[in-house]
């Protein structure tokens, strides 16, 4: 009997907790959605008609104009190290080869003007990151949606553009399974190559990046498969998985290519190479024709734009802005950006030649000053932004104060930004990302208003719950709950506790019906008088 009562009490509290959770989740969802709608809709009524945010820039001095031109120009190097400044007026209509360009020397003295396709010089072309998909994109494909999750399937194409094989990436097993056009199993492809048996294939490491291209002589795609520590080139038509680079635990940070894929006529004069940077700031160069690997002795203090070019000789271009902190120090970088955004900035670009041992020899350098940005926002845009801010502050006044505390913690820990300082949370779990997005955009922007509203809600709850009190702990719980969650907490309380109250027959004060005795005087509920015909009460 006692055990039954205990289990009944446990289930009673469990269902009470479940009810509070359910009501709270629904109400906080509604409150946050409404806040988002208000923040999105109201400013649109004040959106300026003129899309141009800034007034015309004030007149620059002659020196500043020249520096501005140098800043805007593209910096190109000839094979002998000479620097040219190439200016291309903005033109989105004309085909790129037909566009007019102006070539200047280092001092911005004109050298040549004409169509791009007729330019007399051939410049060094630099490594760049290829387009592709990251591990996060691949994980997003795994989302359980009504159209189910997805995965990668790489085809092998015949000369007649027909798919003759399909190689599917098994996400949880981390290798490829191949099927012919009839659906029959061909084999498996992993880092140890092709195997007919599943027991012999090895899995890849955690994937980082994939990029793909079609070679010139075939239609079947070839992919570069970058994992945490290794870089593979996979040719499914040949069933070949070639290990190009092994970082041996140092973790690959970035991969840039130049003519490696041999696509596009522009790169045909360059020696194919891959430029890899590891997380411990080491730079490697994988060359082809002939194959070689060079460890570049790039100074540790170099952390801004580093690019490589290679023909018979190998060059490194290093460019940046003086004083700009590392992006990894995201807080420092944000402060620097805020402070220097509208100031003149000193920039440079320098060219170094690389010898066989990876040592750098300076060849050329250009320094210039980007003039201060003195442009001012139009008054209507300032008004619009002010309205956005006010709307944001008013709407988020109803947000839970708890959001403000958690947001402050996340912001201080730098959890909203990845190592490159971009807004991309460091957490990979989608649920946590969503929570962090909510915290970032809907945390209380005006703390005083938020806390004042919360206090008012708490007072209302106290006034409402005092005559209805059963246990003090319950009262304290609801006060704390409303204190943490503001409007959502208040609505939850009201949804679950708005019970009727009556006047006590003994003391005349308000009391609820949820307890037998009056909390003020201890008097019991009034009992109706017994009558002779009352079969139950007699």
């Amino acid at each position: 009997m006692e055990q039954n009562m205990i289990s009944q009490n446990i289930s009673k509290y469990f269902q009470a907790t479940a009810k509070i959770l359910m009501v709270f989740i629904v109400l906080i969802t509604i409150v946050l959605i409404l806040e988002g709608i208000i923040m999105g809709i109201i400013p649109t009524f004040f959106y300026p008609e003129d899309r141009d945010r800034f007034l015309a820039e004030p007149e620059l001095t002659e020196i500043e104009q020249k520096q501005q031109q140098i800043n805007k120009a593209q910096k190109h190097f000839l094979y002998d190290g000479t620097l040219h400044l190439v200016h291309e007026p903005e033109d989105r209509i004309t085909h790129i080869d037909e566009r007019k360009i102006e070539i200047y020397d280092k001092n911005y003295d004109p050298l040549w003007t004409g169509k791009r396709k007729d330019k007399p010089h051939s410049y060094l072309s630099w490594s760049r990151s290829p387009q592709g998909i990251t591990s996060e994109n691949l994980k997003d494909m795994q989302t359980v949606t009504p159209v189910f999750s997805d995965t990668l399937v790489i085809p092998v194409i015949s000369e007649k553009s027909r798919i003759v094989q399909r190689w599917r990436y098994e996400h949880n097993k981390k290798y490829f399974t191949g099927y012919d056009s009839g659906g029959k199993l061909i084999g498996y492809l992993g880092p140890n190559g092709f195997s007919k048996s599943e027991s012999q294939v090895e899995p890849f490491e955690e994937l980082s990046y994939i990029t793909a291209w079609t070679p010139k002589k075939t239609l079947s795609p070839v992919i570069l498969w970058q994992t945490k520590n290794q870089l593979f080139q996979i040719n499914f038509a040949d069933h070949d998985c070639e290990l190009l680079f092994d970082a041996q635990g140092r973790q690959i940070d970035r991969v840039m290519l130049n003519n490696w894929r041999q696509i596009g006529p522009e790169y045909s004069s360059n020696r194919p190479f891959i430029h890899l940077k590891t997380k411990n700031e080491k730079h490697f160069l994988l060359l082809r024709d002939p194959s070689r690997q060079i460890v570049l002795k790039i100074p540790q203090e170099w952390y801004q734009g580093i690019y490589i070019a290679a023909r018979d000789r190998i060059f490194v271009k290093y460019q940046g802005t003086k004083g700009m902190p590392k992006r990894k120090d995201w807080k420092l970088w944000q402060e620097w950006f805020k402070e220097n955004r509208n100031k003149a900035q000193e920039k440079w670009v320098e060219l170094h030649e690389v010898d066989d041992a990876g040592n750098l020899t300076p060849v050329n350098r250009l320094d210039w000053t980007q003039p201060a940005n003195r442009s001012q926002k139009r008054p209507e845009w300032k008004k619009y932004e002010k309205i956005q801010t006010i709307t944001n502050k008013c709407a988020t006044s109803f947000s839970p104060p708890l959001f403000g505390l958690v947001n402050k913690y996340f912001a201080e820990k730098g959890l909203y930004y990845d190592v490159h300082g971009r807004y991309r949370q460091r957490f990979r779990n989608l649920n946590i990302k969503m929570i962090m997005d909510i915290l970032l955009f809907l945390h209380p922007a005006y703390r005083a208003a938020n806390l004042s509203l919360t206090l008012i809600m708490m007072c209302l709850v106290f006034w409402h719950s005092w005559p209805r009190r059963t246990w003090y702990i319950r009262l304290i719980f609801w006060l704390v709950f409303v204190g943490l969650f503001n409007l959502a907490g208040f609505l939850t309380y009201m949804a679950l506790n708005h019970t009727p109250i009556i006047r006590c027959s003994e003391c005349g004060k308000k009391r609820s019906l949820e307890r037998a005795d009056c909390p003020q005087c201890g008097g019991l509920l009034a009992v109706p008088e017994k009558r002779s015909t009352d079969l139950i009460m007699a």
Partner: protein, 235 residues
């Protein structure tokens, strides 16, 4: 014995909805399959230029695909499960309230817990033998040699069952709303609202264990309330 008799009675009452959902899913799913099979040849071509960069998104299995049951059947399964969940909950928990026949349901020689258990068991059986069997049939058909260019993944089969389970979440939410004695403009519809939010989170997960965790959380919030409300409901 009594439980079996009650279960049969519940299944009899659910039969029209079960048959409707099964027939709709089977018929429309078959049409979608046939339509995809006719385009199989189209999906066996791959247009590209030699010496060009390829967006890796072109390799998404669904994009240049193959006769997987996923693309046409998944959304249909999802909608059918939700529809079946709403229908069964409406029949089991809303209709007695609207027709004022709760007394006939509850005042029997069995406890309320048994009555509730039979309702929930009947709903689970309907989901398994309705959309469940048809889904297994479609998956088996797509796995047969020569039907799909590559056999569908095992994970897709499990995901199909997850979509069927979302119907159960909707059933639980609608049942709770049906049992609630609150006004419709207060907290009566919160059960349905919560199940909608749970549904949203279930189909947002990137891994199967996370899916299951979200479903378990959803059920563990809804089921105790259903049990408690049903046992204490004044009829």
């Amino acid at each position: 014995m009594r439980f079996t008799a009650l279960l049969k009675k519940e299944l009899r009452e659910c039969l029209p909805w079960l048959l409707t959902a099964t027939v709709i899913f089977l018929l429309i799913g078959t049409v979608l399959f046939q339509e995809r099979a006719q385009r199989n040849d189209y999906y066996s071509n791959w247009q590209t230029n030699p010496g060009s960069e390829i967006s890796a998104y072109r390799f998404k299995g669904s994009r240049f695909s193959q006769l997987d049951p996923q693309i046409p059947v998944g959304p249909l399964l999802f909608v059918t499960s939700i529809g079946l969940g709403l229908s069964l909950a409406g029949r089991g928990f809303w209709m007695p309230g609207l027709s004022r026949t709760w007394s006939f349901t509850v005042h029997r020689s069995v406890g309320r817990m048994t009555i509730l258990t039979t309702k929930i068991c009947a709903a689970c059986i309907c989901f398994v033998i309705g959309p469940g069997l048809v889904w297994m049939l479609f998956y088996w058909y797509a796995s047969r040699p020569g039907v799909s260019p590559i056999p569908p993944r095992g994970r897709v089969f499990i995901e199909g069952w997850i979509l069927i389970a979302t119907g159960l979440i909707v059933y639980a939410g609608a049942a709770l709303s049906g049992l609630s004695s609150a006004k419709w403009y207060t907290t009566k519809m919160f059960g349905l609202g919560f199940s909608s939010i749970s549904l949203f989170f279930v189909i947002l997960q990137r891994s199967l264990p996370e899916c299951f965790i979200v479903m378990i959380i959803g059920f563990s919030i809804l089921l105790p309330q259903i049990i408690n409300t049903f046992l204490k409901k004044e009829l």
